[in-house]
């Protein structure tokens, strides 16, 4: 087993445990922190796959900003410990949906031809990434920006509306 494999399994263990922690711990802030841990573990995978840029983006956006916003919201909602979540009346439906999801994912995984080894992968340099993003896929990229901008303006309008009413 190479060092990379050992690191991979350690990271996998970390991510999976953290992901399980997200849905099992009763404290929502703990859950959010587990989420951050899980996301950072995923960033580790990217490094193992030699996609440093993706890993850093993962750390910057998910680990830094998004998770912080989630924490921010949770901290201010007051209630600390949620009551233990038991199976509700909708469990057959939930089972159906999650089963379908599993089947879908498995099909996708099995039908994809994977490179046998991480070393055989073509490394995508940041220059390639940049030119692909800003030349070939410029329109979808700009559209996504536009959607975000609209959401941003909407948030500002809604919050300022509340302020004016109160």
């Amino acid at each position: 087993m190479t060092v990379a494999e050992v690191v991979f399994y350690l990271l996998a263990l970390l991510s999976v445990i953290a992901a399980v922690g997200v849905v099992t711990v009763p404290n929502v802030v703990h859950a959010a922190l587990f989420l951050i841990l899980s996301l950072l573990g995923v960033a580790g995978f990217y490094i193992l796959l030699s996609s440093e840029f993706l890993a850093l983006v993962q750390v910057l956006i998910y680990g830094g900003a998004v998770a912080t916003i989630i924490l921010f919201g949770l901290m201010l909602t007051g209630g600390r410990d949620l009551p233990a979540v038991g199976p509700g009346a909708q469990w057959p439906l939930a089972l159906l949906v999650s089963g379908a999801l599993v089947v879908l994912l498995l099909t996708a995984v099995l039908n994809t031809t994977w490179p046998r080894d991480a070393g055989e992968m073509t490394l995508i340099s940041i220059n390639t990434l940049g030119s692909v993003l800003f030349r070939e896929w410029l329109l979808p990229f700009e559209l996504a920006s536009l959607v975000l901008l609209v959401a941003l303006i909407g948030a500002v309008v809604i919050s300022s509306q509340e302020e004016r009413e109160s």
């Binding site: 802030v29 750390v59 830094g64 912080t68 916003i69 940041i126």
Partner: protein, 388 residues
């Protein structure tokens, strides 16, 4: 010593042993630097405030940091009974580790950093952003209103100021055409980036102060408001990790980054001439030391003389002034770099546009914060006297 160092890192060595030794070295250098910085800040600020600073421990108080460290390490480590155990205990480390990780990518001398990363600049910005999670963990786990308020403030401030920081760094990397710190430094052999890009340099300095929660941006930990903010309940060794290591290692790291990226690092006035042969690293070290010291002392001077901003003013400054001008700088850089081929015209254009933007930003800030002049205020006071 030098030969030992060179021999250690020059030859091929087991990659793990090499990494281990380099890490050990950076830890030692960081610890010493942090203690020195604490002493320097106390002396420097003391002189600004017309007092002597520490004088008792050792000659001219030079051992004060050592004495403080011993005191802090032996102090009782208190934890509030209602605190969240794991989060409270882990928060200082979550705050400190990202700061330490930024140090790993800094090339302090030619060919010498812990690791030369292809995306070094981006790595530093991304990793340092994780610090905020430590702030939030500490603030929430302390079960204290001040800590909570401080955590909320730090979350808002640190995330907001990360964006101008990224923009500033991005502008420079556009000029250099690389995110590798060594490449960026090597391009500054004649003109440092601070001249080509004065506006991003200023943005970086401002955002650094905010990211490090130093005065005048120490809103999350402002003593007269939230009494230390997220760290209000910490004491002893945990507090020394936060205060000494995080704050001063962060200051040092950001100052070195600024001196490398904007002031030319070990490259600028002399270039990689190598006129000292094996001892080149001596003047390189001295150059980086001098430049980063200049930045550190500038930040200390600012933090010793300015009052604290208010959180809304801080956010407004970030979102309404720094951010638009940072974006403008990037757009202009893109146009200049795209259409100007000659290096001389390119440099002139970069300097002219960035300088013009800097002036424009200063003017907009002046307009936004314009207050009646002293003469107008005196006139108003005289007019008021006639009321009764």
């Amino acid at each position: 010593m030098a030969l030992v160092l060179w021999g250690l890192f020059g030859v091929d060595m087991n990659v793990w042993l090499d990494a281990f030794l380099r890490l050990q070295l950076i830890v030692i250098v960081m610890t010493v630097t942090v203690m020195a910085l604490i002493y320097v800040e106390r002396k420097f600020v003391g002189r600004i405030q017309m007092r002597l600073g520490p004088m008792r421990t050792g000659p001219y108080g030079t051992l004060q940091s050592v004495a403080d460290a011993v005191k802090l390490l032996t102090k009782e480590d208190l934890r509030p009974a209602t605190a969240d155990f794991w989060l409270f205990e882990l928060a200082p480390y979550v705050t400190f580790v990202p700061v330490f990780m930024t140090l790993l990518a800094l090339p302090f001398m030619e060919d010498w950093g812990v690791r030369d990363l292809q995306l070094g600049l981006f790595y530093i910005v991304a990793v340092s952003g994780v610090t905020v999670i430590g702030y939030i963990m500490a603030g929430w786990a302390s079960d204290n209103k001040y800590a909570l308020l401080g955590a909320v403030r730090s979350a808002a401030q640190l995330i907001s100021y990360e964006i101008p920081l990224i923009l500033a760094v991005l502008a420079v990397s556009m000029v250099a055409g690389s995110l590798n710190l060594n490449d960026i430094i090597l391009q500054q052999d004649t003109i440092p980036n601070a001249l080509l890009q004065p506006l991003p340099f200023l943005i970086l300095l401002t955002a650094t102060l905010a990211e490090l929660s130093r005065r005048p941006f120490d809103i999350p930990i402002g003593e007269s408001e939230v009494v230390g903010g997220p760290w209000v309940e910490y004491s002893g060794i945990r507090w020394s990790i936060i205060f000494a290591l995080t704050e001063y290692a962060g200051l040092w790291g950001m100052a070195v980054l600024g001196s490398l990226v904007f002031l030319g690092g070990w490259e600028f006035p002399f270039g990689t001439s190598g006129f000292w042969g094996d001892f080149d690293f001596l003047y390189q070290m001295a150059l980086v030391f001098a430049k980063s010291s200049f930045l550190i002392l500038t930040m200390m001077l600012i933090s010793a003389t300015f009052p604290r901003l208010r959180i809304d003013q801080l956010m407004a400054f970030c979102w309404k002034i720094l951010l638009p001008f940072g974006f403008l700088q990037i757009v202009i850089n893109g146009i200049v770099l795209m259409y100007l081929d000659s290096e001389v015209t390119r440099d002139i254009a970069l300097f002219a546009t960035s300088g013009a933007l800097l002036v424009a930003m200063a003017y907009v800030t002046y307009l936004a914060t314009r207050q009646p002049s002293r003469e107008a205020r005196v006139a108003a006071m005289v007019a008021a006297r006639s009321i009764q």
